[in-house]
Amino acid sequence: MKKIIYLALTAATTFLLIQSCSKSSDGGSKNTNTGSSFDRKAMLVNISSNIIIPAYTSYHDATVSLDAAVTTFNTTPTAGNLTALQNSFIAAYKQWQSTSMYNFGPAQDAGLGVNTNTYPVSVTQITANINSGTYNPLLLANLAAKGLPALDYLLFGTGADNAAILAQFTTDSKAANRKTYLAALSAELKTNATTVLAAWNGSYKTTFLNATGTDVSSSTGQLVNQLIYDYEILKNYEIGIPAGTQSMGTTFPEKVQAYYSKISLQLTELHLSAIQNLYNGATGLGLDDYLISANNTALNTRIQTQFSAAATKLQGLTDPLSANIISNPTAVTASYTELQKLTVMLKTDMTQALGIAITFGDNDGD
């Protein structure tokens, strides 16, 4: 009896072996792991010491300067101080582009992303806050009335030119309220930046370096997931939605990032190169090396090429992006298409090749 069972099994095995020999991978020519070991911890050390913490430090410094510029301007609201403040603001907004993609750990706890850069702003909400002279940072409705986008409006959008804007802070009946609001917003940015930087300089760095796995809560998992998430924000919110890709072609030029200061495209270009820099691990170990060590050199090349292709398309556009969307919508949607291609490579090819979990929950198993 037993012999019969085993004979049958062997037969079944042989049969099925022959039957089901259709392959998914191309005979080991690519995408097969040779088994070379990649030091994820070394990558985390490099990324945290050479990219993340410097980014948070610079951003923190930028918010400190910004807050100081606000204080100076509020004390002495002159045209010169306004320009200086505007320049401080632009510097902070630029630095934010290489700071936004680490929205896990301390940044997530502080709600850094949404509190810093929720746009488009609600001018109605901002006006209401100024008129009433009250501002509650914890109020959900105020997410669209705070952070860099709100400053963008206050410093660049409250008048047709700098003289008119200055008047809003000097002769206007609500000038005092407006200055108070300005100070509250820059102080909040500074506080949040300080909190997050302190956490990274403190115990969180150890936590980050020790979570060396590849599941959703591991540091590599969080880095990759947030990189993709932030990249999709770039693609959708900085370009796609304003260009009308999600609204039957109806464009929303006013929904771009930094609509009032008109530096949208500049910021997007910085943002894209910051994401690429994170991918590359700057000059050290990054996701590119990780892919190469997993024998996915070809994929890495494709990703690098696509980063360049997208950057080239963006370079073909001009600031103000909002005007460009109206004057040359085809060029903008063409950039969008190029950005879209990179999404697939990062989200699907890269995560699968590295075995990185992109969702929580149990997987199937036996």
Binding site: S20, K23, Q246, T348, F360, D364
Partner: protein, 457 residues
């Protein structure tokens, strides 16, 4: 020969055997279900999987299964918890196991995003447990009504579980007999190095030969373990393998309770002597240590027996056929996933995808790209991206939503890229097909899936 078959049949089905294995199975299954249910609640998954999503991917023919409103979902899980406790201690057992089966299956039918073979396995086990008198020995029920206590039960009441387990392992083994698993060592060649941070074994996991060793060992284990467990001579060693195998999968992969469930329920293969010993051991831990026993046999009226035989025969015929339904479809099974579920295909492939949906106004020709996350959770989106039936369901949902917005006969298309076992992403479905017009059927092939081999990026 016919005589021996008859003898075998009656010894496997009708012979009176000791009931202890059934009681132990009841306790093992009930307690592991209790742990699973509580774990599920504590992880916040009741909310994340069933309350938060505004849209659910129901199973074909089960569109009527909707999550209960408000706190209803939590009530359902509270009922599951209580039912699991009652099954464990054997209190109002039949009512408890029927309730457990119905509630659990209901939850599983709500959304195929969360489909796992091990949830299907739990439903199947709970279903089988409905038909057996697992409460007539070493249970609260026998304390309350000593009259119902029995010592011997017909062998089928225990053997159906062994048969089910043998089928599960064997089919899992057969499904591993393919090029990807055995020759390319995929997906383990991707999954194992992802664990290289582990102490001691971490370095080994990045070695190619280890991926091969795991693949082959896994396939051989699944194919033969059921049969080895059946044989008294190898049982102890086989069970040791069960423990080693499942524990190592628990350490290496994020597969939740499944390893522990299998370790618990495979105890059923042991002899009645072992089970009596387990019961005696458990008795020591109980306050009133003497449990009621009688020397009675379990007897059912003929018509009931025949009814149960019919139900079980049907069950096992379905169990034998379901895993083969993939043969009805053309193309590569892992790619199309047509006939993939309910077949004990576990941990077989590494698949991921990205999908962009477009809704076009057929009147104006203008189109919108959909932000999937406005309708779906990340988990739903990632599961949908690689499963054609879910893609179709979501496309229909989008069509309905845009219809509501006043766009008549919206055209829904999708650009979808999928990578399978390291193939690199390839175009997955025909991006020119209006998915709003395609219908889901029970068994028809979806012609708009682009065959695996014909596309390469």
């Amino acid at each position: 020969m016919p005589g021996s078959v008859k003898l075998n049949f009656s010894s496997l089905v009708k012979a009176q055997v000791h009931i202890a294995p059934l009681s132990v199975l009841r306790i093992a299954f009930g307690s592991i279900m209790l742990v699973s249910t509580i774990r599920f609640i504590l992880k916040g998954w009741v909310y994340a999987f069933y309350i938060k999503p505004q849209f659910h991917f129901t199973f074909y023919g089960f569109d009527w299964v909707k999550p209960p409103a408000g706190a209803g979902m939590y009530v359902l899980f509270a009922i599951l918890t209580v039912a699991a406790i009652m099954v464990t201690i054997g209190l109002f057992y039949r009512a408890a196991i029927i309730t457990f089966f119905l509630c659990f299956t209901y939850v599983e039918l709500l959304d195929k995003t969360t489909y796992l073979n091990h949830y299907y396995f739990i439903s199947v086990m709970a279903f089988l447990m409905i038909w057996v008198p697992a409460h007539r020995y070493f249970s609260v029920d026998t304390k309350l009504r000593p009259k119902i206590a029995v010592t011997r039960v017909p062998a089928w009441t225990i053997n159906i579980f062994k048969m089910q387990l043998v089928l599960v392992y064997f089919f899992a083994g057969i499904s591993k007999l393919n090029y990807d698993w055995l020759i390319a060592a995929m997906p383990l060649k991707i999954w194992l190095p992802a664990n290289s941070q582990m102490p001691v074994i971490g370095g080994l996991l990045t070695q190619t030969w280890v991926a091969y060793a795991f693949s082959w060992f896994g396939a051989i284990f699944d194919l033969f373990i059921g049969f080895l467990l059946l044989d008294g001579r190898y049982r102890k060693w086989a069970y040791a393998l069960v423990i080693i195998f499942h524990l190592s999968t628990a350490v290496l992969f994020k597969i939740g309770m499944f390893p522990y469930i299998m370790i618990c329920v495979t105890i059923v293969f042991f002899s009645e002597k072992t089970h009596i010993r387990i019961v005696n051991l458990l008795t020591h831990f109980l306050p009133k240590s003497k449990h009621y026993t009688s020397n009675k046999d379990y007897h059912l009226p003929v018509f009931k027996t025949q009814f149960i035989y019919t139900v079980l025969a049907l069950h096992f015929i379905i169990q034998l056929l379901l895993p083969f339904r993939f043969m009805l479809y053309p193309g590569k099974l892992y790619w199309t996933e047509e006939g993939y579920r309910f077949s004990w295909r576990v941990m077989l492939m590494d698949k991921g995808g990205t999908i962009f949906f477009y809704v076009k106004d057929s009147k104006t020709g203008k189109r919108s790209e959909i932000i999937n996350s406005q309708y779906l959770t990340t988990f739903q989106e990632s599961q949908m991206a690689t499963q054609p039936d879910m893609i179709l369901q979501f496309a229909h949902h989008l069509a309905a939503e845009y219809q509501k917005k006043g766009i008549n006969n919206p055209i829904v298309t999708a650009d979808s890229y999928v990578t399978l076992n390291g193939s690199g992403s390839r175009l997955y479905i025909d991006s020119t097909v209006n998915l709003a017009k395609e219908q889901e059927t029970l068994l028809d092939h979806k012609k708009w899936i682009i065959p695996f081999n014909s596309t390469q990026q």
